[in-house]
Symmetry: D2
Subunit: 347 residues, 4 copies
């Protein structure tokens, strides 16, 4: 990884181009600059050029590209990380495929199932594999251990998955559809990750909203999913708990019932007044910061070794499944019954 | 409570008559004989007279009645405990009401909503209060603490209740309807206990059965309840876990999320081989034996002080609500959608 | 247990005489009156006669004795419960032995080892067994489970016991010697209960006192015990935590490490502000109320069946061992090194 | 960090020289090569030249030095990581100081307090700061959180620290002194880290050994430390539990009692047979692998920014304190009473 390498045609570090340097993109730049081995941020671009310049100035050897297109095509970019607004993901991902460059695309892959399917088809047509999708929970240590436990068969046959997703608070304007597209989408991918099969139908159960729910928002809510083989998944979403960030998963198998996410605390304390306990993180960062790091590190390693996509990583097809399921879940918000998920054949 | 009492017309101890001395009835006889203060078993009866005689012989001063009718009418019976098969409960409970004697009736109150309603009406017509129903979980210390936390308002407004009900195993022939009438019925009463409002509709979600489920049985299954005010309750039933007995309840409130039932273990151990943990009780006894004792003790105290029904106890009306909800839940097993619960007005 | 009993010479209920009706004695009267099956409080006595009369008036059929001596000798007293100040325990216990009546004596058995030994000798000389000592923790369910686990051999050979004893607060004037005689004495008996062997030496380790420790008080402190077979027990005493009441025991065995006392909570809650946890009881009552009930119920059963002393119960010999160990522990407070415990042979 | 840097005199990555590529050294090489951002292994050396060559061949751009002296002096080495046998640490650390190069030295700093003090003096005399000592637990997330909680004052004044150190098994020949120098040394440094003051005296409490203890080995054992301000620390060492690897710390403060290390599990499972629980890691790796990574990453960052020593890192003085305390603890193994720790003034 230095000028003494014997294979001079290869870049010393993977040179990453980052499209979009808002909160998420800037985090990725900082991550790659400080913690990801074997990569450096070579080029950034953003709709707000000043912001892009400011970020570039903070990273030795980093320059600003005038447009996503220029960045994707640039000779000094080996791989692309897309952190632009979701509406641009599809076109940018396809441009990366066409340029033959590995891409780590933040969720969502596209704004609707059709567009997501277009990315799947483009990658298939290219004959290569390029697209990793930013469902970083797959790289969380607990998720990975649970996935391995399921795959090993030690839990027996799985019938039910219980998921819980809690936020302390949400921004104003967080309507029901955002509970599907921004929150539940993570559990939707987790279902595909853990169970390795598509979701067939989805139902929304809407209890009386809590007093902190915005006008018209159903918080908490319950989504029910039925998979192709007939397994049931419950996803309880509660995004204004006023408490903390929590993500739990319980798997009911015939040989064991396994749970993750209950031990988010580290220091347990007894306090004056007769209370014991610990603190719950305020947001997702303490819970999943390591998963983001692991995801990007695994991606960089995959790019460096030419496989482009890490073993645990979500792919374009997972992005398509998520888009198709979210679309059905959105319909389910008002349907009052199970709504089928339409999934086209995998190319 | 001795011969020196100044009110000689009152019995020293509450003299209890027990109808039915199968497993449950015999347990109650042993309970009253050994652990319940202020009561003694005075008379027992059973379809199997030999069994009744054997039980009576084990208790000083206990005799056998020829029939439930004779027992209920007997001068040496102050209060009646019904532990006969469910089909006889309605008539025996009404006979107690008509005899003006307090009765603790094991669940169910009756075999259908109409019969249960008849008991409610009979008690109303009597102008007194006589009927306690054996939903003993209300007397479990954790249930009571959670009920008090809800009623105190410290959890804020409740939107969702999550219940889990797990058995290690069930007897052969435990069909889906028994999962409703024998298992879910406990959570159904718990909903009425915790939330103090009737259930309006119920839906059954049936995942692919686990490998230990009997032919035609859906185990695990998920029941969804919606209450009059729009709260949602999930009840996950899994009666062949091959693991142990567990009952959990989680309450989602706007000021707190409270959980009971996760700490059924007492001794935590680390063992050779790198495992830590504890044991799960094989059946309901270690979990709820104290609740049975507390229930009967509270009932005896209520009988002794003339109120007849303990503050926490389920009543005939709760038995009617449970019967009406179970009937709807049974229909829901095949309906595939929410089924309304028909509840007549409270007399 | 009624007037129809065929053995009229026997009392219907065990008639208990209670000596001393201060806080502890009054609790026992209320316990026997309300929760203990097969017994009633027949006679009470107290240095404050008015208090005794008031308590007697609250219990049907209960009278006041003029003195402990009269109570012990009374025909209408089958068994005696001593809850008087500790300085009187020795003489009252010996009087019970001489009267041939079972006695449950609150701790301590006596104020010094010699007096305690005198009780042991008196009981030996009587040829009977009469004395139960009120170390009620032996009847706590967790203690009993741990004791059974040790005795069963499932934990292998035991090398170390770790005990922790925490109070939220203590009354003014709670000096170091009271930390030995009032607090550590419970763990001292627990050592004898769990390990079934005497303590040979004891050392006190005194850290810098916390800011709430009274002048001259060493709180927290650490006592170290070495048993006859060479096992080590640590006892951490912290009686002004300002938090809650907690008692923990950890056993290090060659086949397992077992812990009790960590799960004193029942309802676990997540609260606004990102905290999760539960409450710690303010004093010993929620933790050990059931143990007191179980202790007295077991004693009553033992009296009724003529064995007089329950299987789990502490005896006069245990009281002597505790007294001898406390005496050494008090010396250890200033010795700075291990102090031997002098134990005379068991008669 | 690339050829476009504007400061060409500086190395792109910190070029690390690793002395000793046995298990620990090879782990560090692999760590730096795969996970540590901003560094690369430039030179390695080892007594076994073949092993060094094999390791060097696995890392692009890495060469073998003929000796530690050559490595320390080399122009292509910016900083040195010492993973040689402990007997060589002192001389190699001093050589690094004299060469003006930052060094991360695995524990121990030296084989005795005098040699450790010589390193402290050498660094003092140099006028710079060069020496980081490999007490990696300081970088464990739980340790760091607990340290921050103590330093923030939220736990109030600290009186007692309870440490537990458990291994599933040890290699043959693990004598008592190794329990001090290899195991307890970690808690000794933790005491200095958490309490920021030296230890004044130490006592060893030796219970009857467990059945797996080797001939002459006292396992488990208990070490007691008293610090300069009078705080007490218990360190329970049990290195043949046959169970798993566990490290716990409990801090007793006047405003709170905090515990770390009890939640080493991630997936909690219920299993057939009525058991619940999780697995305990077999050795220190799952528990502390992240701490090693964090330690080396922090060191690299400190070297890159010229401070040389990370904020949380142990220094030569900590190594001296550990050496002085271990020497006293070894004497305490046979002393039977508190043994003073002799600490010279900090230069």
């Amino acid at each position: 990884m230095s000028s003494t390498d014997t294979a001079p045609a290869l870049p010393a570090d993977v040179r990453v181009g980052v499209i979009g340097v808002g909160q998420m993109g800037a985090d990725h730049v900082e991550r790659i600059a400080r913690r990801i081995k074997g990569a450096r941020v070579a080029v950034v671009t953003d709709y707000f050029r000043d912001k892009a310049q400011q970020i570039a100035d903070s990273v030795p050897g980093c320059r600003v590209a005038e447009s996503p297109e220029e960045l994707i095509a640039a000779d000094d970019v080996d791989a692309v990380l897309i952190a632009s607004p979701g509406a641009f993901h599809k076109d940018q991902a396809i441009a990366c495929i066409e340029a033959g460059k590995a891409v780590l695309c933040e969720k969502p892959l596209a704004m609707n199932p059709e567009d997501a399917y277009a990315v799947v088809e483009a990658e298939k047509a290219s004959g290569g594999q390029y697209v990793s999708l930013g469902f970083m929970r797959r790289f969380d240590r607990e998720y990975a251990e649970l996935k391995d436990a399921i795959d090993s068969g030690e839990l027996g046959e799985i019938s039910i998955l219980n998921c819980k997703h809690r936020n302390a608070t949400t921004l104003p304007g967080f309507v029901d559809s955002m509970m599907v597209y921004d929150s539940a989408v993570h559990e939707i991918d987790a279902i595909h990750y853990f169970l390795d099969e598509p979701i067939r139908e989805v139902q929304a159960i809407l209890p009386v909203p809590g007093p902190r729910a915005a006008e018209g928002q159903h918080d908490p809510m319950l989504l029910l999913f039925r998979t192709a083989s007939g397994r049931i998944v419950t996803d309880e979403l509660y995004v204004n708990t006023d408490s903390g960030y929590e993500v739990r998963t319980e798997v009911l198998g015939s040989q064991g019932i396994a749970t993750i996410g209950t031990e988010v605390h580290r220091v347990t304390t007894q306090k004056p007044g007769g209370q014991w306990g610990g603190s719950i993180p305020a947001d997702f960062r303490p819970r999943f910061i390591d998963a983001y790091d692991a995801e990007v590190q695994a991606w960089v390693a995959a790019v460096a070794d030419g496989t482009n996509i890490a073993a645990r990583s979500a792919r374009a097809w997972d992005g398509y499944l998520a888009a198709a399921t979210c679309e059905a879940a959105e319909k389910a918000l008002t349907a009052g019954t199970f709504v089928p998920v339409t999934v086209r054949p995998r190319p």
